[in-house]
Symmetry: C2
Subunit: 305 residues, 2 copies
């Protein structure tokens, strides 16, 4: 599909893209750049790229498709670095979890002969680094593309076909709309999980060890989300500030109401709320976004009679 694809950064997403491209034979050559020697060594050892560079500017030379797979906080400097080296007609995309801030950081630096089409594969695990990737990461998951109004239609179609060949479903969206939806589905849940696990991390040692011992009663689910990459998530919150603070405001209002229901023993109101939330999970399972197995399949399911 492409002569040469350049991956800038080889963490979970970059390494998974490499596996997915190899699986579907999407690039004759894969070039990759990584800042640290440790990552470059892993990329070579795992055969994730045919060419491995320290500097992004070297990796992008001659590439038809360039995908930024580093935390979004690096994009401004990266765009400046690679802009003069991008091939005429190249597609530049990214895998960043926010989109308006990426448009603002990257677009001003680019020459007009480059097709810039921001993207976000909504797929991941709590692991990071070049060893954490696998070809199936994008299978059946959504990738959102947020092309600018003047985007080249053929380039958008080609990038869409690329992600579909990596196993993903593709949706087109405005950058700001993407940021609002993701603030709800992803950024707020991560913020809440980081916060509750942080509250526990601050407990006295003795209490903390008991929490760890009895964590299977609910808490452990939050720790999975709160084990995600710290740099990536710092950058997300800083770069999607408005939408995150807006939805966090709604959440804390609702939480204050819940606190009041508990304090005043308003059981009926709690019951109503807890009943409505069950329906949301049903919808997610029906939408094919989640496994219906008890405890995500961590415990055996009851035998059906």
């Amino acid at each position: 599909m492409f002569e040469k694809v350049a991956l800038i950064g080889v963490g979970l997403i970059g390494s998974s893209l490499s596996h997915a491209m190899r699986r579907a034979n999407l690039a004759r050559t894969i070039a990759a750049s990584a800042r640290t020697e440790a990552t470059r060594a892993a990329v070579r050892r795992l055969g994730l790229a045919d060419e491995v560079y320290e500097h992004a500017a070297d990796a992008v030379k001659g590439a038809d498709l360039v995908i930024l797979c580093t935390p979004v906080g690096t994009f401004d400097a990266l765009a400046q670095e690679i802009a003069p080296h991008l091939k005429d007609g190249a597609i530049l995309s990214d895998a960043g979890s926010v989109k308006q801030a990426v448009v603002d950081a990257v677009a001003p630096h680019l020459p007009p002969h480059v097709h810039f089409i921001p993207g976000h594969p909504i797929a991941g695990t709590e692991f990071s680094g070049p060893e954490s990737g696998f070809a199936e990461l994008f299978d059946g998951r959504w990738t959102i593309l947020t092309p600018l109004p003047d985007a080249d239609e053929a380039a958008v179609a080609k990038l869409k076909a690329f992600w579909e060949a990596c196993g993903a479903h593709v949706e087109i969206m405005e950058p700001k709309h993407h940021d609002l939806v993701l603030a709800i589905t992803s950024h707020l849940p991560h913020l809440i999980a980081y916060n509750i696990v942080g509250t526990v991390a601050d407990l006295e040692e003795e209490k903390k060890s008991e929490v760890i011992k009895f964590s299977a009663s609910g808490f452990r689910d939050f720790t999975r989300i709160a084990a995600s990459d710290p740099t990536m998530w710092r950058d997300i919150f800083i770069n999607n500030k408005e939408a995150v603070l807006e939805i966090l405001g709604r959440f804390t209002e609702d939480l204050a109401a819940m606190q009041r229901h508990i304090r005043w023993g308003e059981g009926d109101k709690l019951f109503d709320k807890f009943t409505r939330t069950r329906a949301v999970r049903r919808s997610i399972i029906d939408a094919g976004q989640e496994s219906p197995e008890p405890n995500f399949g961590r415990t055996p399911a009851p035998k059906k009679d």
Copy 2:
């Protein structure tokens, strides 16, 4: 181990106890009571009990061990109902998720010839009802017993052996201490999950359907916890008010600080917090309380080289 065990209520815990007792041959006779005809029919169909009653008072007659497996809000009335019918020397226990409130509700009604030993199996799934149980639910999980200071040691030892035969590890604890630990590991996580899913349930239809579509980015994990039984959870929050409000206070303080870090772009502080939370998950996996698989095993793990 027992001639006759009576299960009062046959939901997830009651039905799992039946399966676990059958597996290890722990009771010659299992009696069960359930308020609704639908549950009683399911109990009969699934063979979960040898004797099935509408009223708890009938089920407990002649039982050596009685376990209350209904939501804790029912315990006061239940204790009054069964007290006159309990066998001399019977052990009365429960599976309620709070313990001090259970002591307060149950103990005053009991005759001195009954051994009351409150208990809490820390095991469950998001499913409820008699069909949701399975024999392995308690395997390798903790059950906490909170005997009163004057408890009969032989009776405590027997109940401990019973839970161990059901597959559980057993820990002895003060009721109030149990309630504080569980407020952190279980009650606050459920409150937060119910709250964030509730916030989404209140969104306009169009936005809500997008959240469901893209829920795999984190939100879906919360919906699992927020799909738990509403009656049970209403009763838990009402009956562990003090500990829940105390730990919720810490959580909201920390959340306000996090909100401020985001608003003022204090990336270093966010990064520090997000780094410390990773260590907590590592400890939980090391403690054998959690699977190390990515996404709880919902996605394939990377092949090791």
